[in-house]
């Protein structure tokens, strides 16, 4: 142990400032308001610059693939005349196999530009491989800190594959057992090395995704003559939804509905050693998306540049079994072994296509590479080993951590709408809770909260009054 837990956590602000090179206090405008657009714009990475940086490392310009067979399957179970065209943006074609290369590219470029000796990231997912890959290309050293195994030493297979990938790109990988103190170990690494914090939640990481939304809007317009009706993004920390929606808007696709989709893991505790290997999904699930949507500033930087509630028109969940089912369908009907992450959106797209007329267009905005550990077989074999029941049946009987129910028929797939009003209320409650004792909301804060929740000032005021018991 380099330093005591309390001592390192007390140095958090200084370590962060040095490691991301951003003074977040400069953007504060109220008791909790800050100038979000200014924070992003000051980085200097507009969408053309981001595209140029990404082009230099072969990031982006991925194919848009129409899933004609899955569309037909949706039409086979939909009401007559229903069944929108489903497309997927094949982000697995990026250098390290996922859209996370877009997020890593600007961070690593910025680290090199500012003269940092290396980059570090706290992530158990594709993002680690992306940072390691970009760092390799840039000639920077790289350390990835993962939550990787439980107290019995059982590794989550998908994370084991990310360990291998990061090491293949020449990164040092620190593997930890379960717990939020990963952040403490990460701070120790940053303090010792002076590396750049390639956090998932800096402006660089979010601006890097704007090219994805922009590209897919242009590609759909080229292939189908108009912008997509719906774009679905698998939702965890909020970056994917935020960056994609911003990119769509910059391309002019302002009428496109942005849908966030997560795997329902309700009932499982994200910091529980017991539950760690019983999730069967490592990301794109409600264990991240609910807390991050209702309070984004719980991230490893002072202000999270991923603010999904500003951008989502709809938020849906699907079950574990439904995602495994559609993963099989994607392989067997479209010849694409991909996932797991994008397949959460694909399960939702399969259902939502049935709600729309056949001339409408739905885009699943990512795929990721699959392989050993990252495959339904690896997850379901581990689930069985841990005593989780794996059956075919009605997906509504799926119970996270207890029973994975794989649909018996494609007509059984469904989405559950998350009540966005409830999410907005929860966000505003978190905002009020975050105020220091005696601090009051002022005009700029009410406007900020209305922007954050895509509502109006009087909506925010009503909830603030409710919380304070002044109805």
């Amino acid at each position: 142990m380099i330093d005591g837990y309390a001592s390192i956590m007390a140095q958090r602000a200084d370590i962060m400032r040095a490691s991301v090179g951003l003074d977040y206090t400069k953007y504060e405008t109220g008791a909790l308001a800050f100038d979000y657009e200014c924070l992003l714009a000051d980085t200097g990475y507009d969408i053309d610059t981001a595209r140029r940086v990404q082009h230099n490392t072969a990031v982006g310009s991925t194919p848009l693939v129409e899933l004609t067979n899955i569309t037909e399957l949706a039409r086979a179970v939909a009401a007559p005349g229903k069944g929108a065209r489903i497309f997927v943006k094949d982000e697995a074609a990026n250098p390290s196999g996922s859209f996370k290369d877009r997020r890593a590219s600007l961070s690593v470029h910025e680290a090199g530009r500012r003269g940092y000796p290396g980059v570090a990231a706290a992530t158990s997912g594709n993002y680690g491989a992306a940072v390691a890959s970009q760092a390799a290309k840039a000639g920077l050293r790289c350390i990835v800190v993962q939550e990787a195994f439980d107290s019995r030493g059982i590794a989550q297979p998908e994370i084991a594959e990310k360990t291998r990938a990061c090491e293949a790109y020449g990164a040092e990988v620190i593997r930890l057992s379960v717990g939020p103190e990963l952040f403490y170990v990460f701070l120790c690494v940053l303090k010792e090395t002076g590396y750049f914090n390639a956090s998932l939640y800096t402006p660089y990481s979010i601006l890097g995704i704007e090219t994805l939304g922009d590209e897919l809007a242009q590609q759909v317009r080229e292939q189908a003559g108009r912008f997509p009706d719906i774009v679905i993004a698998t939702h965890a920390g909020g970056g994917n939804v935020t960056g994609t929606a911003r990119g769509l808007a910059k391309a002019g696709a302002v009428g496109t509905e942005v849908v966030a989709a997560s795997v329902d893991l309700s009932g499982l505790h994200m910091a529980s050693d017991h539950d760690f290997n019983r999730k069967s999904f490592t990301t794109g699930h409600t264990g991240f998306s609910m807390p991050f949507t209702t309070w984004p500033d719980r991230a490893d930087v002072p202000r999270n540049a991923a603010r999904a509630l500003r951008y989502m028109d709809r938020f849906v969940t699907v079950t574990q079994g439904e995602v495994f089912y559609i993963t099989e369908v994607l392989a067997e009907l479209e010849g694409l072994q991909r996932g797991p992450a994008g397949n959460t959106s694909l399960a939702a797209a399969f259902v939502m296509a049935q709600e729309l007329e056949q001339d409408r267009i739905i885009v699943v905005q990512e795929t990721e590479y699959t392989g050993a550990g990252k495959h339904p077989l690896a997850q379901l074999n581990l689930a069985r080993q841990l005593g989780i029941d794996v059956t075919r049946g009605d997906p509504r009987d799926n119970l996270p951590g207890g029973r994975i129910v794989i649909p018996e028929h494609p007509s059984q797939l469904a989405v559950v709408d998350v009540d966005l009003d409830g999410v907005r209320r929860s966000y505003i409650r978190h905002a009020i809770d975050s105020l220091a004792a005696g601090e009051q909301l002022n005009d700029v804060d009410f406007t900020f909260l209305a922007d954050e929740t895509r509502t109006h000032r009087h909506y925010v005021e009503d909830i603030v009054n409710e919380v304070h018991g002044k109805t």
Binding site: P157, E172, R175, E181, D273, L333, H375, L377
Partner: protein, 104 residues
């Protein structure tokens, strides 16, 4: 006593970062009962025996100490046997498309 592992061998070390009583206040009860453990790989900086203290040089060039736990640690993640509950999905959906004339 275990054999001495030669300098520059690719190995894994393990160490306890936080004992149960040092864990963060927000950690749930089951996680609090166990320590936060760290595992890292690198090249041995000096000869050492399995189960004893050792120093490694990591891929990023850092020197880390811990108990030498594995020599040339394997990647053991894979796929495992096929899952019967998944095996019939392909045939099912292809037969549905066959009815539409889209599949042989």
């Amino acid at each position: 006593m275990a054999d001495v592992v030669a300098i520059d061998t690719w190995v894994e070390i393990r160490r306890i970062e936080l004992a149960p009583d040092q864990r963060a206040p927000q950690v749930p009860a089951d996680t609090r009962r166990v320590p936060l453990e760290l595992r890292a790989k690198g090249f041995l900086a000096a000869p050492a025996r399995l189960g004893e203290q050792a120093e490694i040089v990591t891929a990023a060039g850092r020197r880390l100490c811990g108990v030498l736990s594995e020599v040339n640690p394997a990647y053991t993640h894979g796929f495992g046997p096929p899952i019967p509950e998944l095996s019939t999905i392909g045939a099912q959906v292809r037969s549905m498309l066959r009815e539409q004339g889209r599949c042989k």
